[in-house]
Every structure is written in C-alpha cells, then in structure tokens.
C-alpha cells in the first residue's frame, strides 16, 4: 500500500497507530445489503454479466474441516489450528461453499427409525444382519429407498 493509501478491511479493525506509522488510512467494512441491492446482483448473475467464483464446496457436516483449510490463509487467528494436512487445495480467491446435504444423514436416521419400528433388539438384529446374505442386504436397502417422503 502506498503512502496516503486507504486500507479497507473486511475481517478485522485496522490498528490506527500502525496505519499512521505507514501514513495510510484504514477502516473496517461490514456489509449491510438490502433486498433491492441483492436483487440487482441477482439480475446481473441471471444475465451473465457477473459470475460466482466458487473455490470449493464442502458438505455442511465438514464445516470444521473447511475452517481448518481456510485458516491456512488466515494466519494470526487464535484458536484455529491449520496443522492438519490434506483438505482443500489452496486458492487465493473464490468462495468456500457449505452445502446442506441431508441425504446420508436422512438415510441413517430413517434406517435407524425403521430398525426401531420393527421392534428389534439391537444385539439380535445385529447378529442376524451379519449372517444375512448379499441378497437380503439388498432387500433391506430397497426398504429404505422405497420409504415415501422422508420428512425433511
């Protein structure tokens, strides 16, 4: 930033002493969008004038991992560890999206409800489950898939 420049921070307040030492001005910005403004952005998206820039999509349940990955680009935030390897490829721009994917969660929950609805004793059912052949496992899967309107 050149002398006399403006620093606009979206994530934290600007230390005024440090800004003064570098002969720059600094303010923190927070968004206060209105429906009207968002509507204009929506129309720009619709007509292709602007495009979304999505870096990575995570499932909502992987939010903790998403935070760890993003923390690598955010040094100095306390309490966020970025030590684990793997995860998202580093990118210098683009949004980290969290998709609310309920499918696996719903299937697990629904399977458990069916399991309880059959009045099965956990230990007995598990033993039967282990002895069942591949064909009976498939029929078990069909029961779950054919359940109408899993409540959302």
């Amino acid at each position: 930033l050149k002398e006399g420049g403006y620093l606009v921070s979206a994530t934290q307040p600007v230390a005024q002493e440090e800004a003064a030492a570098h002969r720059v001005s600094g303010v923190m910005m927070r968004l206060a969008p209105t429906g009207e403004l968002l509507g204009r952005i929506g129309r720009l998206l619709e007509e292709g004038t602007i495009r979304p820039d999505v870096a990575t999509v995570y499932a909502l349940e992987d939010a903790a991992q998403a935070w760890k990955d993003i923390a690598r680009n955010l040094p100095g935030v306390h309490g966020v560890s970025a030590s684990e390897s793997g995860g998202a490829r580093p990118r210098s721009h683009g949004k980290i999206v969290l998709r609310v994917t309920l499918r696996e969660y719903e299937i697990r929950t629904r399977a458990y409800e069916l399991f309880l609805a059959r009045g099965a004793q956990p230990a007995v059912s598990l033993r039967i489950g282990f002895r069942q052949s591949a064909s009976s496992r498939r029929s078990c899967g069909e029961r779950i898939d054919s359940t109408p309107n899993i409540p959302s």
């Binding site: 994530t11 619709e46 935070w67 966020v80 949004k95 998709r99 609310v100």
Partner: protein, 116 residues
C-alpha cells in the same frame, strides 16, 4: 434440525441436532441449501475480537445462504412459501438446515444458477 455450532470461543465446530428456530413477525424460515465460509466467521469464533464483535454462545455461524422459503412471519408480504431465494442473515445462523432470517435482505434466486 441439523446445524453446526460453536460452543465456546476458540472451540471446535460441532455438527449436531438443535431445535428449529422460531421466526419473528418480520422474518421468514428458510430451508437452507447452501451457505458459505467467511474469514469473519473464524475471527468471530476465535474470540480475539469479542470486545467489538461479540457472539452469543452456543453460536451457529453463517452470514449468507441460498434456500427455499418454508414459512413467513405475519408481517411479511414480499415472500411466500416455496420461493427460491438468497440473502444474508444478521450475522449468524446459516450453517444449519433451517434459518430464521429477516425478510428484508433477501432476493429471488437467479433461476439459471445452482444453489451454490
């Protein structure tokens, strides 16, 4: 509903079941399809700026969302159940299956774009 919560400053995010939020008269309940991570989420969660950016713990992060209007408050005229929308929360609550959000900072989702 399912949601991601922070229980304490500097803590881990927890994927958990929580009660459905109740909507105020000027709010709508949105079934959220996508939300997004902001650097500000991490700063707020770390507690390093809690003097100026305090959060109510346990806290569900999430400033923005796309989703479908599921229920409207009694003062809301602009939206109806089933509308596909995007918008911002008042600073929290979008890392969840449902969000109770103010009806004002919401717009119709562009039909030629995905939920993400």
């Amino acid at each position: 509903m399912i949601a991601v919560r922070l229980l304490e400053y500097g803590g881990q995010l927890v994927f958990t079941d929580v009660p459905l939020p109740a909507i105020a008269r000027d709010e709508v309940l949105v079934k959220i399809r996508s939300t997004a991570v902001n650097h500000l989420d991490l700063v707020e969660a770390s507690g390093s700026l809690k003097q100026i950016l305090p959060i109510d713990l346990p806290w569900i992060p999430g400033h923005e969302f796309s989703g479908v209007v599921e229920q409207i408050g009694s003062d809301v005229a602009a939206w109806a159940e089933g509308d596909a929308v995007f918008g911002t929360t008042t600073g929290a609550g979008a890392y969840a299956e449902y969000g109770a959000v103010k009806a004002a900072p919401i717009a119709r989702k562009p039909s030629n774009h995905s939920w993400s």
